[in-house]
């Protein structure tokens, strides 16, 4: 029960009565142990990995089968109860933040791998299967599932679909969308739907890209068929140092201009490098203004050829130090710092806030300069890791959440990074999703008509607005309050709405 409800005895009584009503209805379709209603049981579900936002759900339902998922949806639909689907809860934008009058639908028990087809190179799995578990199951066939979000040990494929998750290797192998063939799920009223197919297309409008990345707002995904990729024979990584972020940025552009698509292309600035070196002792160059990790994978011949081309571009672009991994151990050591960027930041600061915007690659240096200015302006430090190959930034703003003023400055800092990203031609979220965290920033990126069209799409799938309401797409009213809707074609947005 949230504080607002607690403080109002009438609201509290109504909430308790409603909880009992929904509980009774769901008890008819789920076994008793698959329903949690006591505060001490539901507390584990009150946030995802964006822990700054917490809310207790009214109930938590833990179905074990797709039939049960459908039954829960039908029951909630009949009662007009909101549903928040949840996988492993590793999301970084609050997409799984509960609804205080709603049911959190934990799909973690739908964790069966249904079929691995090595010939077709596909895996059909239930939504609660962990990302890495798919690759583990495919490994005996020398296949793997390519998208590799950093939480892949824990995150589920259903959550990956909801967020269209990326990862270090998506420059070459694509995002979740590019690796999903078919989704089976249920609409808000519990009807079974399939998007895509095991063929390369399906008849009618292509709804798959709409559902992938829709943050659980259009349908509840229960089954996913993914494409598996043959494991590359080998991989080698180049670690290059640069004496300015400008030269590092131009090296990235030149790699792409040379027609090379690295398997991974990652950049860390000096403060980030110092933080991770302290943590993993990988031998990073602490003098460098920026470190670039550039990976090639494929057959041995292919990798040798590509590494030579990469090396020559990096040298020409002014790399001050350059090392090519000689073996797998060294390659993993090169990556160890990058992969530990978040925990390393956690060691140098009580808290950090991870941003996730994308900008055109050529604006990288400009963006990093702007962030330096913001550090002065807000009096907070920021360390930067960057999926340089696809322009996806992860600035980590360091702060102490126990100091309300720092938290406030951190939020302003983050919002300015996002707004700057939009101004530079980018987007407020590259791979973590909008959730609740970036709702206001959506008002900066999209016009009223664009947001209204998205809300209309939501209604087309879910006319009663029961699936994860209030996430991903802000209402026009909210944008008016935020006062940041961009002026579109010279028209004042929401002229009709009252201002506060």
């Amino acid at each position: 029960m949230n504080t607002q409800v607690q403080s109002d005895p009438h609201a509290a009584a109504a909430w308790v009565a409603r909880q009992a009503e929904v509980m009774a209805a769901l008890s008819k379709v789920l076994p008793r142990e698959a329903l949690l209603h006591r505060r001490e049981d539901t507390v584990a579900y009150e946030c995802d990995a964006l822990t700054a936002y917490r809310r207790a759900p009214m109930l938590v339902a833990l179905p074990e089968s797709e039939v049960q998922v459908s039954a829960v949806l039908k029951t909630c639909h009949a009662l007009g109860v909101a549903i928040v689907a949840r996988g492993a809860g590793t999301g970084l934008s609050g997409g799984a933040l509960p609804h205080e009058q709603g049911v959190t639908l934990s799909l973690a028990r739908l964790n069966r791998i249904l079929r691995i087809d090595p010939t077709a190179r596909t895996a059909t799995v239930q939504c609660g299967v962990r990302n890495l578990a798919i690759s583990d199951a495919a490994a005996p066939f020398d296949l793997y599932y390519a998208p590799d979000p950093s939480s892949q040990i824990a995150c589920t494929i259903g959550g990956n679909v909801a967020e269209n998750s990326g990862g270090v290797h998506c420059l070459k192998y694509g995002l979740t969308l590019h690796n999903v063939l078919r989704i089976k799920g249920y609409t808000a009223d519990g009807e079974m739907v399939e998007f895509g197919s095991e063929a390369l297309d399906a008849p009618g409008l292509d709804l798959l890209p709409l559902v992938v990345g829709s943050e659980g707002m259009l349908a509840v995904v229960t089954q996913v068929t993914v494409r598996l990729t043959p494991k590359p024979q080998t991989a080698r990584c180049i670690m290059a140092s640069f004496d300015s972020v400008e030269t590092a940025g131009s090296a990235v552009a030149n790699i792409i201009a040379a027609g090379i698509i690295p398997a991974g292309l990652e950049l860390m600035d000096r403060p980030m490098t110092a933080a991770v070196e302290n943590f993993v002792h990988a031998g990073y160059d602490l003098q460098a203004a920026a470190i670039l990790l550039c990976e090639s994978d494929g057959t041995v011949e292919e990798v040798d050829e590509e590494v030579e081309r990469m090396r020559s571009v990096l040298e020409r672009c002014g790399a001050t130090r350059l090392e090519v991994s000689a073996d797998e151990e060294q390659r993993l050591r090169f990556w160890s710092g990058r992969k530990n960027a978040f925990p390393a930041s956690g060691r140098i600061s009580p808290d950090y806030m991870c941003m996730d915007s994308t900008i055109p690659r050529k604006r990288l240096a400009e963006m990093l300069r702007a962030i330096e200015k913001m550090e002065q302006k807000y009096g907070l430090r920021c360390v930067n890791v960057f999926h340089a190959g696809d322009g996806n930034l992860h600035p980590l703003i360091l702060f102490d959440a126990n100091d309300p003023d720092q938290l406030h400055r951190c939020e302003l800092f983050g919002a300015e990074i996002l707004e700057t990203s939009v101004r530079l031609g980018g987007t407020v979220s590259g791979e973590h999703g909008v959730g609740v965290e970036k709702l206001n920033s959506m008002c900066v990126q999209f016009s009223a008509a664009e947001l209204e069209q998205m809300l209309a799409i939501k209604r087309a799938f879910d006319p009663d607005g029961l699936l994860n309401p209030g996430k991903a797409v802000p209402t026009l009213h909210r944008c008016a309050e935020y006062g940041k809707m961009h002026v579109h074609r010279g028209l004042l947005p929401f002229a009709e709405l009252p201002r506060f």
Binding site: V193, D206, N392, S441, F446, E450
Partner: protein, 375 residues
Amino acid sequence: MSPTPDAPTDPALVRLIDQVRTAQDEVRPVRIRGGGSKDFYGGTLTGELLELEQLRGICSYEPTEMVITARAGTTLRELEEALSEHGQHLCFEPPRFGAGGAQATLGGMVAAGLAGPARAAAGGVRDFVLGACVLNGRGELLRFGGQVVKNVAGYDVARLFVGSMGVLGVICEVSLKVPPLPAASASVELACEEAEALHLMQAWTRAALPVNASAWRAGVMRVRLCGAAAAVRSARERLAKQSGVRTLEPEAAVPYWTALRDQSDAFFSAPGAPAVSLALWRISVPSTTPPLDLPGETLIEWGGAQRWLYSHASPQKIRETAARAGGHASVFRAEPRAPDFLAPISAPLERIHRALKKSFDPAGIFNRGRLYPWM
């Protein structure tokens, strides 16, 4: 920053918006048309022509970003010429249907969502659309997606327009990801029967050979390998040794794949092609589907995932066979044209289709009947 065409200064766009608003006010159906290279394709053609020829030109092209943005009426020829100057390409090989791409347009390419021989390896049109600026039925110009590869802000509406056959709105401008041309390519040929060809296509791809395209027809399989020079060379040598494939010289290979892509291959167009009065079916199935139990002439592409068919079998039989295999069959070309060219969809999906159509095009003016008779 904004890839949105600037309404006040672009007369073609101003006129277009005006035409759409008038059409909506008067509830007058319009038929959106780029170069007309795909007039033959889809359900019925209804309404007054809404021509996009004037809305053309490349807005921005950044080879180092691998992104090109162009107006919908830009021809594929213009687009591909600009890309090839910088060693990049439309790697999904959209069919140009003649005139060397001087007729087919970017907007039509997206609306039809058709891809060529490289589809199975490289991805489809949808995989390379990064953003689009579209005009809905209320005459509102909307921009979705953007010019960056990773973007999860809001629903991915730009990609919904791929293959929408114009029923949701007018595509005005599109941003595409444009990868580099492969460093090397080689094509090989092998005489074999259909079942063996399907088996080999699967086996070679699974063995991580750089298979970029494959086709089988009338006892001959051809496969194109693309990638790093060393990888292509070693794959070709391995296939020659292990399967006895013959290398196709580029003078023969390039025109062959181009003809498949543009459907100028004899199978699609030559006089005396198997009964020209028969409909050409496009059957999309999981690639591992064994030879389909249907009479007629067939051409297989995409490692088995796309099968073209001229057949005397009934449409019902063809559709059932495809559905049983986990796929679907569509009438690609027929005279007279088939209003229900696509396989039907489930009731919940149909409900979503109708609601989506209404959300974009409340008056129902765009391309009535082009996707489904009921839309």
